[in-house]
Structures are given as C-alpha cells and as structure tokens.
Amino acid sequence: MNFFLISLIKTAVVLFALLTTLAYLQWIERKVLAHIQLRPGPYRVGPHGLLQPVADVLKLLTKEGVMPPGANSFFYLLAPFLAVAVSLVSIVVIPFGPQVEIFGVQTNLGLTDLNIGVLFILAISSLGVYGVALGGWASNSKYSLLGCLRSSAQMISYQLPLALALAAPLLLVNTLDFRQIVEAQGGFWLGFFPKWNVFAGPFPQLFSFVIFLIASFAETNRVPFDLPEAESELVAGFHTEYSSLTFAAFFMSEYANMVTVCCVATVLFLGGWQPLWPAAYGSDYAPALLFFAAAAALFYHGAQALKTRMWDRFSFPVFGVVFLLLGGLFLVPVLQPVLIPLFWFLAKAGLLIFLFIWIRGTLPRFRYDQLMRFAWTFLFPVAVVNLLVTGLLVALTSK
C-alpha cells in the first residue's frame, strides 16, 4: 500500500510539472524564436508575456469545436487523445534522479524502473504514428490526408536510424534499464572528465548522439522536418481540421514528444543526473551560483530599465528576488541530494530543448523527397556503420 501511495504522489507531481512545463515551453519557444528574429515576442500579457500560455489555454478551451462534414466522428475524436496519451506515457520510464530519502521514505526519483526501459520508449514512439495517421485520415480533407500520410511515412522512416542510434550506447552499457545506464555513466576520468556516453570509450558516442538528435527532429515533426505541418505547404497538415481542445491536444502531444526525446537523449548520451565535474571540486554549488548570477543580471537590468519599459523596473527586481530564493534553496543541505541531481538532469534536457527551438529559428525546412532520401540513403547507412564500428571496438577491447 505504501508503494502505491508513493507512486500516486510521484505521478501527480510529475504530471503537474510536465503539464506546466508544456504550457510554458510554448512561451519559451515563442520568446527564443522572437529574439532570434530580433523582435520582443509575447510581451504584454503579464510581465514579458508570462501569462500568455494562460491566455492561450483559455482561448483554446473556450473556442468552438468544429467537426468537418463527412468526418468519421469516432476516429476524429479518438486521434488527438491517442496522440496525447501515447506521448505522456513515455515520461514514465525516465529517471530524474538517484534514490533519495524524502521525509524518511526511500524512493527513486522517477516513476518506474523497467528492465526494458529502452524498448518501452521505442514501442511508445512506434504507437505515436497512430494519432497522426488517424487524425489526418478521419478529417476527410485533402490537406489532412496528404499531411498525415507524409507525416506517418516520415515518422516510420526515421524510426530506423533512431533505433540504431539508440542501440550503439547500449553496447557500451550492456543494459536496457535507464537507471542502470545513468549509473554506468558515473565517475570521472583523470579525476575531472565526466564518463558520459558521448565521451565514453572504446568509441565515443558522438555520432550516435547526432544521429539520434536528427532522427528525433524528424520523429517529433520539428523543423527542419516539419513539412507535414507547415503552414505554407499544407495549410496545417494533419491537424488542419482540428480546433479548440483537440488542437490543443495535438499541440501538447508534439511538445511532450519533444520533451521525452530530449530526456531520453540526456539519459542515454549525456549522463542523466551525473554532474559535469566532480562534487569534490564544488559542482554542488553550481546551481546556486547559476541562480545567483541570473538574479544579479535581473537586478542590473531592472535598474537600467528604459523609460519605455516601466514595468521592468518593478517586475525584474521581483524576479531577481525569486531567483535568489531559488538559489538559496540549493544550498539547504537537507534538500541537496534531491535538488542537485534534478538540476543537472533538467539543465541538460533544457539545453537540448533550447537546441530544438534554436534550430527551429535558424534552419529552413526540407522538401519531402529530400527528407525521405536523407533518411534512407544517408542516415540509415551511417547509423548501421556506426553500430558496426561500436560493436567491433567493444568486441576488440573487451576481455
């Protein structure tokens, strides 16, 4: 009973955190894209647009849901919920931190600890094709059908390099369990260089990491592989005919897929919750220092705010104080075993999410035949060769 209660509490916490993250990920994306394009982005709804996601959610909830004529209503309504369910489920196997003790309860920072964690992620991403395929087909519209066929073909084509790129670091760690993969990446060479899989011998998994990232861009339908949902090409692809809550569901599933893929890349390649340099050299104080530096920047900019940005004079110092408190939270010794691994994990995953958004603002999109040709004639052979080389080196150097 205790186990069920703890799992329930952890699930509630993770679900709440994930859903809030998804909403504010949209804000981050719009802000980063805007600053790449030299414009302010959402600015007026709340200080620096921080209440924009709330406004967007309210708008989406109160919009009228229109079903196109001739649409198969059962599948039309099933598809977005299938997409959301599948994309939210995959967060279950990802470990956020080591085993910790909170209020006297020993628990893993993560929802489950499956023996076949990697296979579970592959299975769930295979099932993600159904939401897209059904949604586009059930809308009874040319753009949707074209978008869904292209999107599903793209997703299944890129699943192969994804799986092969996933398999290569598994040869180094010899386990399918995510928690054990992260624990195998602990320790440091020469006392300071982290033993993450990207740097690990006998073959640093740099190529696998890059292939995995490219394949996951295609899996999550992000730029430069977002032709199936590009506005100038196919109106909006498979979610053309969806409005209000169902559109919000597709939107949410896309961001959840992005978060999942970044978390998986963090765990498999970047060492999960392992710090960048040993704790003996002070890596435990890195999060606190980071937050204090952010607070200092906020105070500085708040004091220097232009006359046209009067709000910043008030909001920036307030946020500065909030960041100071958060930084102070990392110095509390009771909370350190929980917060510091969590910080490293979230920092790495956050960097990858920033990379996704950065590439969205930078690169143009592939044409569809270029996309498919890239998958089958370049990425797949490279992934196979990478796997073979990894296997060869592991076999040669193992005792």
Binding site: N72, F75, N115, I116, L119, F120, L122, A123, S126, L127, V129, Y130, A133, L134, W137, L145, L149, S152, A153, I156, L176
Partner: protein
C-alpha cells in the same frame, strides 16, 4: 491483482477480436486488431515475457498494423457492402462456433492439471538477456535465415508494389 488484470485484458482482447470480425469498415477492423495486440502484450507481461511484449508492440502494433492502415488509406477502402445475410446460415453458424469453442475449452481444461497457475514473476527467464543469449547460441541459424527471409520480403514488396511507367 493478476486475476483482475488477466480478466480485463482477456475481455478486451476477445471484445476487439469480435469487433474485428463484425465491423464493416477495414480501418475499424485494423484498430480493433491493434487493441487485440495491445492487450496480448499485457498478457505476455503477466506471463513473464517482457522482451516479447515489447517486440509485440514495436513490430506488430507499431509497424505491421501501420502498414495495414497505410494500405487501407491508400486504396481508399470503404465499408463493405453487406449482402443480405441468410438467416439459416446465422442460426447454424453461431451455435456451431460456440460449440467449437466450448469443446476446445473442455478439452484444454481436462488436459491441464489444476495446480498449474500463472503468477506474475513466476518466470524470470523471458528477459532481453535470456532471449538474446538463446537467439545467438542455440537459435543462431534460424536467426540468420530470418535475416535473409526479410531481405527477400523487402525485395518482393518493392518489386510488386512498384509503379509501372
């Protein structure tokens, strides 16, 4: 708990299988089959076959059925036009079906010893390690032959479905 899980997912599997046979539109049948495969994956987990459960979802539900749905969408297959069902056929076939299933069930119940039960965790040899070890030692020849089989299937599918210009 095991019993509840088994009953639930067995009911879902049988319900989806009946739905597969009864639905007129191929897409509904295809999704019912996906439902069957999903519930069978859970039953494999109860039987200790974690690797097979994952492979079932990845290969069967995630690839083969997507291929089915692709072909159905490509061919724009509509709902089947039902001919007038002959009442005699219905009144004869359904009881015969039930009789067949009941006979099979009775035969199985009489042969299987009552003490054989399935507990979750009773068999731990279905992990990826065990399956991999067996695949690469005792069953290496079939494993390599299936790779050639898949190559032949790829060639066959590409040749058959090619556009003749």
């Amino acid at each position: 708990m095991d019993g509840l899980l088994f009953l639930t997912f067995a009911a879902i599997a049988v319900g989806c299988a009946i739905n597969l046979v009864l639905q007129t539109h191929p897409i509904s049948s295809a999704l019912s089959l996906v439902g069957v495969m999903g519930s069978l994956a859970v039953l494999y987990l109860l039987l200790g076959g974690e690797f097979i459960a994952a492979v079932q979802l990845i290969v069967y539900a995630g690839a083969i059925m997507v291929l089915f749905i692709f072909v159905i969408m490509l061919l724009n297959a509509g709902a089947e036009k039902r001919p007038t069902r002959r009442v005699v056929a219905l009144w004869v076939s359904l009881p015969l079906l039930f009789t067949l299933i009941a006979l099979a069930a009775l035969l199985i119940e009489s042969q299987a010893p009552k003490t054989e039960v399935v507990r979750f965790g009773g068999f731990s040899g279905g992990s990826a390690l065990a399956v991999g070890r067996a695949l690469f030692t005792s069953y290496l020849l079939p494993f390599e032959i299936t790779s050639i089989l898949i190559l032949i299937a790829i060639l066959g599918a590409v040749v058959l479905a090619r556009k003749e210009i």
